[in-house]
């Protein structure tokens, strides 16, 4: 019979574990899903009878909504579970909570957690497909995939394309997933940010590190601005939001350094006037809202791959 499909995926824990071929297969499938999302009947029967549980121990309204919409468009059933309404706030351990969830027999658990490695921990202990919706400062693989999708959709092949990622690289799971994914697809990645926000050894992920923002943006095909997570770091790492904007923020003048066709990206939610100026966020080069739209398509592709792989394995068992 045919060789095993490159779409086979038992869990999605991070882009670090995926090959370039697997990433490309997921992006190709996402293109199919995007076409579905653009027709009047935005529904596929593909995951009928599959149950997807969203387990968000850390709040993220839009990522949760994006996953739920993706599951519904594939005809899966969805249940939501969040930290504030759950017994985690009553002192139950993560594993006990997860075992209780597992007893309700979901096929896929989509987990968001503030601790790096929580998705892997669960994938080794419960019998569901696990999809990482963001874990600590580790990875946010579906955000990475939707960013790659958006870039590939606009620019074609990413080999040799210069991508600048600006901001808090050290605490950003979005940056980490993008670094892995972009490196595998052959992009030329440059990062810049305050020294307190550049992790030691980041160049080992295959990127060029800059202390100043200008050389990173110079000639770039993509400028990706990261969110300054004021709720997470307080103001310990940067002296002041205004000062951050002056040295690292993206405004129209700095964007001039990039290619005329350069894409402006941001994973949201934006701090207008801090990492990104409103005229750039709302400008002609911004693809920020397309990223959100593409997120649903990419998550549909991931849920399809994980659910169908589980189906195949249950046949073999």
């Amino acid at each position: 019979m045919n060789a095993p499909s490159t779409l086979q995926l038992r869990h999605l824990l991070g882009l670090e574990e995926l090959s370039a071929e697997q990433i490309t297969a997921l992006l190709d499938m996402a293109a199919q899903m995007k076409a579905v999302n653009q027709r009047r009947i935005k529904k596929l029967p593909t995951l009928r009878g599959v149950t997807v549980l969203t387990f968000f121990v850390e709040n993220s309204t839009r990522t949760k909504m994006s996953f739920e919409l993706a599951a519904k468009r594939l005809s899966a059933d969805t249940m939501g579970f969040s930290a504030s309404t759950s017994s985690l706030s009553k002192g139950e351990t993560l594993l006990d909570t997860a075992r209780n969830l597992e007893a309700m027999a979901p096929d896929i658990v989509v987990i968001r957690h503030s601790s790096s490695g929580a998705p892997r921990f669960l994938s080794e202990r419960i019998g569901c497909g696990i999809v990482n919706a963001g874990d600590g400062a580790h990875e946010h693989p579906t955000q990475g995939l939707l960013d790659l999708y958006t870039m590939r959709d606009k620019l074609g092949d990413l080999r040799g394309r210069k991508v600048a990622i600006i901001g808090d690289i050290a605490h950003s799971r979005v940056a980490r997933s993008n670094l892995h994914g972009l490196h595998k697809l052959g992009a030329d990645v440059h990062v810049a940010g305050p020294a307190t926000m550049l992790p030691p050894g980041v160049h080992a992920l295959g990127c060029t590190v800059h202390a100043r923002v200008e050389p990173a943006i110079d000639g770039a095909d993509v400028v990706m601005m990261l969110r300054i997570q004021r709720e997470r770091q307080g103001n310990d790492l940067i002296p002041h939001a205004h000062e951050y904007h002056r040295f690292f923020g993206l405004d129209a003048a700095r964007l001039q350094l990039a290619q005329p066709h350069a894409l402006v990206m941001h994973p949201g939610p934006m701090n207008r006037g801090v990492e990104i100026a409103p005229e750039v966020a709302d400008g002609a080069q911004s693809v920020i809202l397309e990223q959100v739209e593409n997120g649903v398509a990419v998550r549909m592709a991931v849920l399809y791959a994980v659910a169908a792989t589980r189906g195949l394995e249950s046949q073999g068992a």
Partner: protein, 192 residues
């Protein structure tokens, strides 16, 4: 690829396509450019058949029927058996489906499962006025209550044998090969 001799060569296929075109023309629908059915090929095998059928019909009708392609990957019923698979391509219909007549086109009709999936995929694009099924080859072996309205040629094939409709480098139908079920061939499976 194996070098098994074809059961139908290109000369045979010309005759099969002519028969198929005659049966499509015999459908009880007007031969009018505005309402003539779209020929929608099921990816991947049905697309080349739809294109060659359209070329043949153009000669008979004096106008070119509109051609589309339908991808059914996400509508198949064997996901749990075969796991995730890449799509064959995008669905491309000539316009708004609602109110249109459609001839679904495939290369080989076997179990009927592909056609079941195709009907479900099609109606997610709108409400066609009517749908008919045209197949190049009917090899029997139905597992669902589905029949074709237009058939190019009927083959008697033992269950499990593979019928491969092959195209040349330009995507034009070339030949039909029968691979016995016990051949253990690693060749790409074209028929359902």
């Amino acid at each position: 690829m194996n070098d098994r001799p074809p059961i139908l060569d290109r000369t045979d296929l010309d005759q099969v396509l002519r028969s198929l075109a005659d049966e499509v023309l015999a459908l009880p629908w007007p031969h009018d450019p505005a309402t003539f059915p779209w020929l929608v090929g099921i990816r991947s095998g049905g697309v080349a058949v739809a294109e060659e059928l359209a070329a043949m019909l153009t000669v008979a009708l004096g106008f070119a029927p509109q051609v589309g392609a339908l991808d059914i990957t996400l509508y198949r019923d064997d996901m749990w058996l075969k796991g995730p698979r890449a799509a064959e391509g995008q669905t491309a219909l000539p316009g708004d489906l609602t109110g249109r007549r459609v001839v679904l086109v495939d290369d080989v009709l076997y179990t009927g499962r592909t056609v079941r999936a195709a009907l479900n995929a099609l109606v997610d694009f709108g409400r066609p006025r009517a749908v008919a099924l045209a197949v190049l080859l009917d090899r029997g072996g139905r597992e669902l209550p589905i029949a074709a309205d237009a058939v190019g040629h009927v083959l008697a094939v033992p269950p499990g044998d593979k019928i491969q409709v092959r195209c040349d480098a330009r995507g034009r139908l070339h030949s039909v090969v029968q691979v016995p079920v016990d051949a253990g061939s690693p060749a790409k499976v074209v028929s359902p």
